[in-house]
């Protein structure tokens, strides 16, 4: 494998993130202006000093004009990217590579999504003209395949499984209650979660992430220039992105208890970052908790728990804010909703706050070997997805 990575070549020197929620009074333009302005201010960089832009959005606009028009960008390269629900992370990854290549000194990665303007429940994706043969099941249904498969494979009974999924939602809402940018900012009792109306399979409404609008942005520069902008930059340790052959839906050996794409992207990212024991070496992780069973399976795919043990670790509080490895300390997709293009950058924004000690009541311990953060973002469905993993840290080396 020759995925060499760009460890310590690029640094984040500024970030911005809007509150996520039902922004009836704001357009995608407004959200882009808000997050980009915050990121630029955070880095102390005027817009004119940014050499190139990567914009992630799935459905809120086509082409670089989606960003250059509202920001009145002065004839610069703006690339619009889309990679399912990992779109925001993909914008970041490409901006980092552009800087690492030497092509540009300063780049902006920015993501935005206005989901609430569609008027529909859940996520709506327009498919290209097709023959009408693909099954029209929704995202919660395709992710709900994970829960019974996992329970069956590891002998978890139905009630225990419900407790595990409920606890994941409960933990993320609890974290989100401490976050002024979250869409949902209050704790939700476990009984409310467990008894919420069913959406798909065993998943109730509270097992699903919300639908919201939001935007987040990052300014990246070469690592050697980072301290010109801030005393506390974050260095990019690893960026991995994997698209699989979409084997799950056609391969009878796929058992819906793992995302192969996540396993591969995590392995790649850990190798790039030099991480051998993620649980001991990460201060926190932001993961793609689109539905509660997703987070459960991710704990194993990302190497935070042994195979078949993730559910016990969840119940033991390993991934709580004060646990051994806090997962989704900002509240995750569960508390933020999932404006597609913005989510990956929103995850990085939490790493930015936490590793710099700016997370207030949500602050996790960043000490010793535990001085790096991971973000994980996926798009698609179990068995057929794209997966992104990044590792960032506050020190070089």
């Amino acid at each position: 494998m020759s995925s060499h990575g760009i460890r310590d070549q690029v640094a984040i020197v500024g970030m911005g993130c809007t509150p996520f929620g039902e922004h009836w009074d704001k357009s995608a333009d407004d959200l882009l202006i808000e997050s980009s302005s915050a990121a630029l201010a955070s880095a102390g960089v005027p817009l004119d000093d940014v050499d190139a832009f990567w914009l992630g959005t799935m459905g809120s606009g086509l082409s670089g004009l989606t960003l250059s028009r509202p920001l009145k960008i002065d004839y610069k390269p703006v690339t619009r990217v889309e990679n399912f629900c990992a779109t925001g992370s993909e914008a970041f990854r490409n901006a980092c590579y552009a800087v690492a290549s030497g092509a540009y000194d300063t780049a902006m990665a920015i993501g935005v999504e206005k989901l609430k303007d569609s008027g529909y429940s859940g996520l709506v994706v327009a498919a290209p003209a097709n023959d009408g043969t693909s099954v029209t099941i929704t995202a919660p249904a395709s992710f709900s395949f994970l829960a019974p498969a996992y329970a069956k494979k590891y002998g978890v009974d139905e009630a225990e499984m419900k407790d595990v999924l409920t606890r994941i939602a409960w933990k993320n809402h609890r974290n989100g209650a401490l976050n002024p940018r979250a869409q949902f900012r209050k704790e939700v009792p476990k009984e409310t979660i467990a008894c919420s109306p069913l959406v798909a399979g065993p998943l109730g409404i509270f097992d699903c992430s919300g639908v919201s609008d939001g935007s987040a942005a990052a300014i990246v520069v070469r690592a050697e220039d980072a301290h010109k902008y801030t005393d506390t930059p974050l260095f990019v340790k690893a960026l991995s992105f994997v698209a699989g052959p979409a084997a799950g839906p056609i391969d009878p050996s796929y058992d819906y208890t793992s995302f192969v794409e996540v396993v591969r992207s995590a392995q790649d990212a850990y190798r790039q970052a030099g991480i051998t024991d993620p649980r001991a070496e990460l201060a926190m992780a932001e993961v793609h908790d689109c539905f509660t069973p997703t987070e459960l399976v991710l704990m194993e795919d990302l190497g935070f728990a042994e195979r078949g043990m993730g559910w016990k670790e969840v119940l033991a509080g390993t991934f709580d804010l004060d646990g051994e490895l806090p997962v989704n300390p900002d509240g995750g997709l569960k508390s933020f909703g999932h404006p597609i293009g913005a989510s990956g950058l929103r995850m990085l924004f939490e790493a930015w706050l936490q590793l710099r000690g700016e997370a207030g009541p949500r602050q996790v311990k960043v000490e010793g070997r535990k001085n790096r953060a991971l973000t994980h973002n996926l798009g698609g469905a179990p068995g057929a997805c794209v997966s992104f993993v990044s590792v960032v840290g506050r020190e070089l080396g």
Binding site: G119, G122, A126, D131, D251
Partner: protein, 467 residues
């Protein structure tokens, strides 16, 4: 000798107790039950199911000379509905496919055409009427397919027949109307009975038979009063009169005569004479004699076994919804896009024939792929038809958010016997009873209709209990 070499009826899974109509409306209804095409069925998709069953029981290698399709409820006008059957059956392009649609009597034309060309006649109908009316309660939904051929395989062959045609207004429906209308009942009886008498007399004469020599008499027609009176006109032995299945199925219009014929053939002995008498804008009489071959013929599934395998607990509200008489609040989700014609043409084998691809190592790709997932080889594939292969549910989900005319959608991942995984919808299923490991079979359905384009594709359903 030319005649019927295989046949099958198809009855939809659901039946409506007529008492459910009475309970809801305080009128209409009656005793017994009527069959009801599911929300995802139309006359074309039901025709495919009947044709698949008939071909499954046909002599090995039998390829119909043509497909003729009759119904009073065509899914399309202008566009030939028989072509969807042709595609779903995977028939070669040189086999013709023709509609003869609109009236009940078009079933006669479909059979004459098929008989002349060793073809497959498919008659399919969905019958209802305005809520509370007799057509609603007494109608039925069914499809029947007859394959004609020659030689030792012939189960029953024509030995005579006659027709009597007359123009009069008894029952009519303007295209687009949801229900048909009928003149005063006694007038129809007046118009029909002389025609029955003429046709029956001529038919018996053509075969050199007397009414007493008829072993089975199939009487069919939407004018039930005239049909009842016609029994006396025919003058056959009372025990020869076939059960018209109105108590279990109802009257499936154009499909009634062949449905009752199929039920008769299920039980007929060699060397028996069957008379089919249909009252529809005149009277048509066919006389058939069974052969020795019928003793060893095994239908894919008999009419009675199909009735036994169906459920009669459909709610009247579902029935009204499925037939378009009750407009329900849709989920807050976009309606599906219409299938696009060019990609549908490119994937005809997959969309209609459920034909995937098998690589050299035996791995089945569904939908068909050009690149092998295992080896990466390009275009080293052979086509493999999955429509008649049974499968097992690997996992499933009850999707309460997805758009459907009959929520919730039951989505399943199924593994075919002998290889091949496929994600599809389940139909004819009680969501509460689905389990991993359940056995399923494929069924051709109309998934939805957008902009007037019917989206036909395959779903899986629990195995109908074997006879």
């Amino acid at each position: 000798m030319r005649g019927i070499v295989s046949y099958s009826a198809y009855l939809p899974y659901r039946r409506l107790q007529r008492s459910a109509i009475t309970a809801a409306l305080g009128q209409g209804g009656g005793r017994g039950a009527r069959s009801v095409a599911s929300y995802d069925e139309d006359t074309t998709s039901m025709g495919v199911e009947a044709a698949r069953l008939a071909l499954a029981a046909a002599p090995d290698g039998a390829v119909p000379g043509l497909v003729s399709f009759a119904t009073t409820e065509p899914a399309y006008l202008d566009k030939t509905n028989a072509n969807a059957l042709h595609a779903a059956l995977g028939l070669p392009a040189h086999v013709g496919a023709y509609d003869v649609v609109g009236s009940v009597r078009s079933n006669v034309a479909a059979c004459l055409l098929a008989e002349a060309h060793d073809g497959l006649a498919v008659v399919s109908d969905i019958r209802t009427g305005l809520p509370g009316g007799g057509d609603e309660a007494n109608g039925g939904d069914a499809a029947v397919a007859l394959l004609y051929g020659e030689g030792d395989a012939v189960l029953a062959h024509g030995i005579g027949g006659a027709t009597a045609t007359a123009e009069f207004v008894d029952r009519w429906r303007t295209p687009g109307d949801a229900a048909s209308r009928q003149w005063e009942e006694r007038f129809g009886e007046h118009a029909y009975l002389p025609l029955v008498e003429a046709a029956v007399t001529d038919a018996l004469k053509s075969a050199g038979l007397t009414a007493g020599e008829l072993d089975h008499v199939v009487l069919a027609g939407l004018h039930s009063r005239a049909v009842k009176a016609a029994a006396k006109v025919v003058g056959a032995r009372p025990e020869a009169l076939a059960d018209d299945l109105s108590a279990q199925v109802g009257n499936p219009g154009a499909a009634q005569a062949l449905l009752v014929l199929a039920d008769v053939l299920d039980r007929a002995q060699p060397d028996q004479v069957i008379a089919v008498v249909q009252l529809a804008d005149g009277c048509d009489v066919w006389l058939l004699r069974t052969t020795d071959a019928i003793a060893s013929y095994r239908p894919a599934v008999s009419v009675r076994d199909q009735i036994a395998a169906t459920r009669d607990d459909l709610t009247y509200a579902s029935f009204l919804t499925w037939r378009g008489f009750l407009r329900r609040e849709p989920p807050r989700r976009p309606e599906p896009e219409r299938p696009a014609a060019p990609p549908s043409l490119r994937s005809t084998a997959w969309k209609y024939g459920l034909i995937g691809s098998r690589d050299e190592a035996g791995f089945v790709h569904l939908p068909p792929a050009r690149v092998s997932m295992a080896s990466g080889d390009i275009d080293h594939m052979t086509p493999v038809r999955m429509a008649d292969t049974k499968a097992t549910i690997a996992t499933f989900s009850i999707d309460r958010l997805a758009y459907s005319l009959s929520p919730p959608v039951v989505a399943a991942v199924i593994d075919f016997d002998g290889g091949g995984r496929f994600q599809c919808e389940l139909t004819d299923v009680d969501p509460a009873s689905v389990a991993i490991g359940d056995r399923v079979e494929m069924t051709f359905r109309r998934l939805y209709t957008t902009d007037g384009v019917h989206n036909y594709f395959w779903k899986a359903r629990p195995l109908r209990s074997a006879p």
